[in-house]
């Protein structure tokens, strides 16, 4: 396993990203910030999908909890960022742990539906608890630390946070814990035979996914200076699910690629036509009909075809 090669490649990518503000393009900086946030969001979901084989239909819930949590702590309670961001992540993780406790008792479609139900509950709370969340007007006017108010500064902050998040997820996914999850995904009965508490493993994965989804949500809320109930709606959960599948669920970087491709494609399509749903629908048809293992799968198939490993 040429791990050093991956390390060098990631270092180069991060360095190139860090040089991006030199271009001076506000548009490029904003777009990249968004892509980074979605990449982390998609990656967090893949801990659940790719590593345990459980499809969550309500991942937007943790994104929203992280986002609202951080926003409310910063603004309503005047907490410093250094306290509110970790608190928001912990909050998302805690809620995920509670929800996960019930969800991991089920599998497949029932699992997906229960995650959806919980997520809609979160959406309902964001919608109706007006005094705290701002209801359907959204929670706006987030108080940001002076240091991070400029787009470039926030870009670097996001880059740093996403790098830390991705690195943490890489370590988690490649640890003994991550390998155990793969064993559970591949054959949960046999995994049980060798003494793995499969339900507990899936529960842990659910919690990890929720916490990192919360981090992505917190970054998103601060970037937009506001959180809106649409961020908790099930369409958002579907969107991130598509990112993950587009990239490919069986590779670590797949979801990152998927998030980048989908978000850029959406941004560019919206400039030319109001028919983004048609484009997305066609993309999905292509994934389903010919690219079931996503873009990463396509790349490795092409490489195999041309005789390179």
């Amino acid at each position: 396993m040429p791990q050093s090669r991956y390390l060098i490649a990631s270092a180069i990518v991060i360095l190139l990203l860090a040089l991006l503000p030199l271009s001076g393009s506000r548009y490029a900086i904003d777009l990249t910030t968004e892509v980074l946030i979605y990449a982390l969001f998609a990656l967090s979901l893949n801990v659940l999908i790719g590593f345990t084989g459980n499809i969550s239909f309500g991942h937007a819930a943790y994104f929203a909890i992280g986002g609202y949590g951080c926003a409310i702590l910063l603004t309503t309670y005047n907490w410093p960022l250094a306290a509110s961001l970790p608190a928001a992540v912990v909050l998302a993780g805690l809620v995920a742990a509670v929800v996960g406790y019930f969800c991991v008792r089920l599998t497949q479609i029932y699992f997906a539906m229960l995650t959806l139900a919980f997520a809609m509950l979160v959406w309902g709370v964001a919608f109706k608890w007006k005094e705290v969340t701002g209801g359907d007007d959204g929670f706006t006017g987030i108080k940001m630390p002076e240091l991070l108010t400029s787009p470039v500064a926030y870009f670097y902050f996001t880059l740093a946070m996403v790098t830390v998040g991705v690195a943490a997820l890489w370590v988690i996914c490649h640890s003994a814990f991550g390998l155990t999850l793969v064993a559970v995904r591949e054959n949960s009965v046999r995994a049980g035979f060798i003494g793995i508490d499969t339900r507990r493993m899936r529960w842990a994965a659910f919690t990890v996914a929720g916490a990192f989804g919360g981090l992505a949500g917190a970054l998103f809320g601060m970037y937009h200076r506001g959180m809106y109930i649409e961020n908790a709606f099930w369409t958002e959960s579907a969107n991130v699910l598509i990112m993950v599948l587009l990239g490919g669920i069986y590779s670590f970087i797949g979801p990152i690629i998927g998030a980048a491709v989908l978000h850029l494609l959406q941004t560019f399509t919206n400039q030319y036509t109001p028919y983004w749903p048609t484009v997305l629908g066609l993309i999905l048809l292509v994934i389903v009909m010919v690219l079931p293992d996503g873009l990463i799968g396509l790349v490795s198939r092409v490489r195999a075809r041309w005789g390179r490993a």
Binding site: F102, Y110, A117, F118, L121, K128, G281, L284, V288
Partner: protein
């Protein structure tokens, strides 16, 4: 709450439940046989409602001709989708099939925008069903009464076809063991195509019958598909009477929720599903999944 108000609310809840049952029963049938969670079902419902609007308003045809047209149109659309695309996906994971139906949702939502625009439409009550019936202490609207009769009729008809006819026996066998059924000489792909068509036609009928009750707007599909999922999941996936029960629970929770907790009516059905799934993970009448 007076007896009159209670009866009226219970009645509206029942009418809502029956309308929802007609739609959800199609979703349930398709899942039961094909094991496909059809996200496009809500879109089929929306098309059903819009088609009734076009047929009655633009062409001036009677309401029930519109209902028939919706059923036929959705049946044909579903058949084309199934024969051209979906049939290639039966062997694949649930996730791929689910994404496929989601793609259909996206494509059809833009198609609906192109055909009907984004205006809000309404369909009037059919003549003869626009009045009300007095029971002495309460006055019930005829159209809702009509729904309360059609719903159970469709339930019994579905039960009869699936449980009591030869064709239904083939369908039930297809849910049990596809390969064995094929080995016995049954054309299984045709069974699948027929079930998908019939289930989608039910969505069309449900949408057509809902048209006088609701506002026709883009996005009406998204709410309905979630509500249908709730109903089918509460009752137990693939179980006809489960869906009936689920629809009843849904109808009453929504109707009485509107009265007693008007702020939370959108969330209450999800709470209902949550409670049911935590107590009975496989739905009220469902059986634990195997494997």
């Amino acid at each position: 709450m007076t007896l009159t108000m209670f009866t009226l609310n219970a009645f509206y809840g029942l009418a809502l439940a029956m309308n929802m049952f007609i739609i959800a029963s199609g979703l349930n049938l398709i899942f039961g046989v094909l094991r496909v969670i059809n996200f496009a079902h809500g879109m089929f419902y929306m098309f059903g409602a819009y088609i009734v609007f076009t047929v009655t308003k633009s062409w001036g045809a009677p309401f029930f001709v519109g209902v028939l047209a919706s059923a036929l149109a959705l049946g044909v659309i579903a058949l084309v989708i199934e024969r051209l695309l979906l049939k290639h996906l039966y062997g694949r994971e649930h996730l791929m099939q689910l994404l496929f139906t989601f793609a259909i949702v996206l494509l059809m939502s833009d198609a609906a925008k192109m055909i009907w625009g984004t205006d809000q439409y309404s369909v009037g009550y059919p003549p003869g069903l626009g009045g009300a019936v007095s029971l002495g202490f309460v006055v019930l609207p005829q159209y809702q009464l009509f729904l309360c009769i059609v719903g159970p009729l469709i339930a019994v008809a579905l039960w009869f076809v699936v449980d009591r006819t030869r064709w239904g026996r083939v369908v039930r066998a297809a849910t049990q063991d596809r390969e064995m059924l094929a080995a016995l000489g049954v054309n299984v792909p045709m069974v699948y195509a027929a079930v998908f068509t019939a289930g989608s036609a039910l969505a069309g009928i449900g949408g057509a019958l809902a048209a006088p009750r609701v506002a026709l707007v883009p996005g009406m599909d998204a709410t309905i598909i979630n509500e249908c999922f709730i109903i089918v999941i509460i009752g137990g996936l693939g179980n006809l009477w489960g869906s009936f029960l689920g629809a009843l629970a849904f109808g009453f929770v929504v109707q009485f929720g509107t009265v007693w907790a008007p702020n939370w009516q959108d969330v209450l059905p999800y709470v209902l599903m949550l409670v049911v799934l935590i107590i009975r993970p496989w739905g009220l009448l469902g059986r634990p999944e195997v494997g």
